[in-house]
């Protein structure tokens, strides 16, 4: 990552050189199409290798988009997607006059904001901390322990959380009990849902998420640190002045991706942890869509909700990427 950052300015020159070389190989007055044809003929292996990915995208991501049109139709399963009549933006009007949907948007944004504020820095801090651990086997053991929850299915994670916060046998309430306090019914109280949900997310993913930052840290040129040591920097200064700036491009890329997923609060974990008593704070757009669309059979309304979700995510990613490219020369594309 750091390396890419350094050569960022040199890149266009290299590309220009390659283009110039290619131009030399081509007869000078060939047309564009001939050139394109020659290009494919020469590089076909690379395109062949790309093909499975393109097919996967077409089949599993683009083809289902055909069905998105029901967001603008009065859809019935008997008439099918194509034959249902168009009704314009009626579903969107319904959505935005629905208090539960608006509440779900609010909840999604609040949970995502908490996730961003607490969940995003967690793996970075963890990676920086691992980087300072010098004892190799201690470091390996600690890393394994924090990676582990990532590999446990959400159902089991939810089970662990529910057990831990149970008012009768849960460890949390047992500890509270030691201080002579009454047990708290955490999972039935709306004000506790968000902290528990966000905390669970961090517990589950921070360790695994730190891998990408550890990889970025490993890519930092070691002589930068040696030079800083000779200059008299301590470990704290090296972390702030070398490590963090060096992995900043990685941090920004991860942040852009994260922002794109703002509307995608990990929906199965919500479903597993929430209950009607906590809908007030726990019901997010995706869970609302799930209940409306799949459980009550309003597929067209659910599609409209999903489309809205995707649209917001799209706008967010575009914005974040543009800002990042402008201010830090780092971007996803």
């Amino acid at each position: 990552m750091a390396e890419e950052h350094t050569t960022a300015a040199g890149q266009p020159i290299q590309e220009a050189v390659i283009e110039a070389q290619e131009a030399q190989r081509m007869p000078p007055n060939d047309g564009r199409w001939t050139r394109l044809f020659d290009h494919f003929k020469r590089e076909w292996q690379i395109y062949a290798m790309l093909l499975p990915t393109i097919i996967w995208f077409l089949v599993f991501l683009y083809k289902p988009m055909y069905g998105l049109q029901i967001a603008f139709k009065d859809y019935s399963i008997f008439r099918g997607v194509a034959n249902s009549p168009w009704i314009g933006l009626e579903h969107f009007q319904t959505l935005f006059s629905n208090d539960q949907f608006l509440r779900a948007i609010g909840n999604t944004i609040k949970i995502s904001a908490l996730n961003l504020i607490f969940g995003f820095p967690a793996p970075i801090i963890l990676a920086l901390m691992f980087n300072e651990v010098l004892h190799a086997s201690y470091k390996r053991t600690a890393q394994t322990i924090v990676y582990l929850p990532h590999f446990i299915s959400s159902v089991i994670i939810a089970g662990i959380v529910i057990t831990a916060f149970s008012p009768t046998a849960g460890i949390v309430n047992t500890i509270i009990g030691w201080f002579g306090l009454d047990p708290v019914y955490f999972l039935t109280q709306p004000q506790w849902f968000r902290p528990i949900f966000v905390g669970t997310g961090i517990w589950q993913e921070a360790g695994f998420g730190s891998i990408v930052f550890l990889a970025a840290i490993a890519g930092v040129n070691p002589s930068l640190y040696e030079s800083a040591v000779v200059d008299g920097a301590n470990r704290w200064q090296m972390m702030w002045k070398i490590t963090i700036p060096s992995i900043l491009p990685t941090i920004l890329i991860m942040l852009i991706i994260r922002i794109g997923n703002v509307m995608e609060v990990s929906f199965e974990l919500v479903i597993l942890l929430y209950q009607p008593a906590t809908y007030e704070t726990a019901d997010v757009v995706n869970t609302w869509i799930y209940r409306q669309g799949l459980q009550s059979g309003q597929y067209d309304l659910a599609a409209a909700g999903g489309l809205f979700n995707a649209f917001v995510a799209f706008v967010l990613v575009m914005t974040a990427n543009t800002l990042s490219r402008r201010y830090s020369r780092t971007s996803l594309w």
Binding site: A8, N221, E226, S227, V230, D231, A233, K241
Partner: protein, 358 residues
């Protein structure tokens, strides 16, 4: 007063000893170059002086202070790294200021120091640029600037020019020499390039396999190599080394006798290696010279000189001859003439120089 003093310095990585007890004194303001083949322990030695590697045994003093257990930052040394080690996210000025800020130098003082040094190095107009937007030579200068602004007691250089192309390297070499003349800071410079060593050094330290082979001024080493390794390492092309046997007046090489000045002290019959520098020959016989017949197989013109590749008694040899503007006359060469004063002799077994008479 000595600048840097190494006394029996040993370095082990685990059970493997890679530096076997080095003794070396670098005088204050002296420019010492460590040179040797790859893997001989030059960098390791330099990094022990910097404090980046622990010293397994021996004493290291800088300005009369034992620093074995002193942290790098308190040794008052500055190091220039092979890959420059510039911070990619900082501009030139901030790169140079890095060490000063860490040492809490007042802001305005930092500013004037940086401006001074940038002036010396011709970097004034690049102070706002990031390293990625500089040429190799400019980056190299920034790396030097970062060392210079600290006003250290000792400069350490680890192959600082090896990433530059040949022309730039020659240029920067001269610049480093000028800087040293101007600043007069004790310097230890590592390179595997013998030309760099010859041109830059006040004294050269030739290392091989974790040991010092010889220490001396460039001309001392060139004229009187202590052994066949040094003889073969310095000079380009290197000294020709031919097996032979001592006679009363010189050395017998195949069926030819090469006359050598100096008494042989009745050691006739002893096996030796005869060393002849490529440049120490003439094409015309003169008084005292001995002729060495050769089968010429290649002439490489270099301009004013040419390299003659040939064989004598199936031993390959290279000689240098003047071209006088044309190489046609060199193709007929079938013997070279050797001045008896310039021939070196080495013990055939130990490779040590034999100092008969001369």
């Amino acid at each position: 007063m000595s600048g840097v003093n190494l006394n029996g310095i040993v370095k082990c990585y685990g059970a493997v000893e890679v530096v076997h007890g080095i003794d070396l004194t670098v005088a204050e303001k002296e420019f010492v170059v460590l040179v040797g083949p790859s893997g001989c322990g030059k960098s390791t030695t330099l990094r022990m002086i910097a404090g980046l590697e622990e010293i397994t045994a021996g004493d290291l003093t800088i300005h009369e202070r034992r620093v074995n257990r002193i942290a790098p930052k308190d040794r008052d040394v500055a190091m220039v790294f092979q890959n420059y080690a510039l911070y990619p996210h900082l501009n030139v000025a901030d790169n140079m200021a890095f060490g000063l800020r860490i040492r809490k130098m007042p802001k305005d003082e930092i500013k004037t120091t940086i401006e001074d040094v940038a002036g010396i190095l011709g970097l004034t107009e690049y102070l706002d640029r990031r390293p990625a937007d500089l040429s190799g030579g400019q980056r190299q200068r920034v790396a030097m600037g970062r060392a210079i602004v600290r006003h250290p007691k000792v400069f350490l250089f680890d192959e600082p020019l090896s990433n530059l192309d040949a022309k730039l390297r020659t240029q920067m070499r001269a610049e480093i020499k000028r800087l040293h003349n101007r600043l007069g800071v004790t310097s230890v410079y590592v390179t595997h390039d013998q030309v760099e060593a010859m041109t830059l050094a006040d004294r050269i330290v030739v290392m091989n396999d974790g040991r010092i082979e010889q220490v001396g001024t460039p001309m001392e080493l060139f004229n009187n190599p202590a052994n066949t390794f040094v003889a073969g390492f310095l000079g380009s092309p290197p000294m020709n080394q031919i097996k032979g046997t001592l006679t009363q007046t010189g050395a017998q090489v195949g069926d030819t006798e090469i006359k050598i000045s100096g008494a042989m002290n009745g050691q006739a019959g002893r096996d030796v290696i005869v060393g002849i520098r490529p440049e120490h020959i003439t094409l015309k016989a003169s008084k005292n010279t001995s002729a060495l017949p050769i089968d010429l197989d290649l002439v490489e013109p270099l301009g004013s000189e040419a390299l003659l590749h040939g064989r004598h008694d199936n031993v390959e040899m290279v000689f240098k001859a003047d071209t006088d503007g044309d190489i046609a006359h060199l193709s007929g060469v079938n013997a070279v003439h050797i001045n008896p004063d310039l021939v070196k002799l080495f013990d055939a077994e130990t490779g040590r120089a034999l100092n008969f008479g001369a």
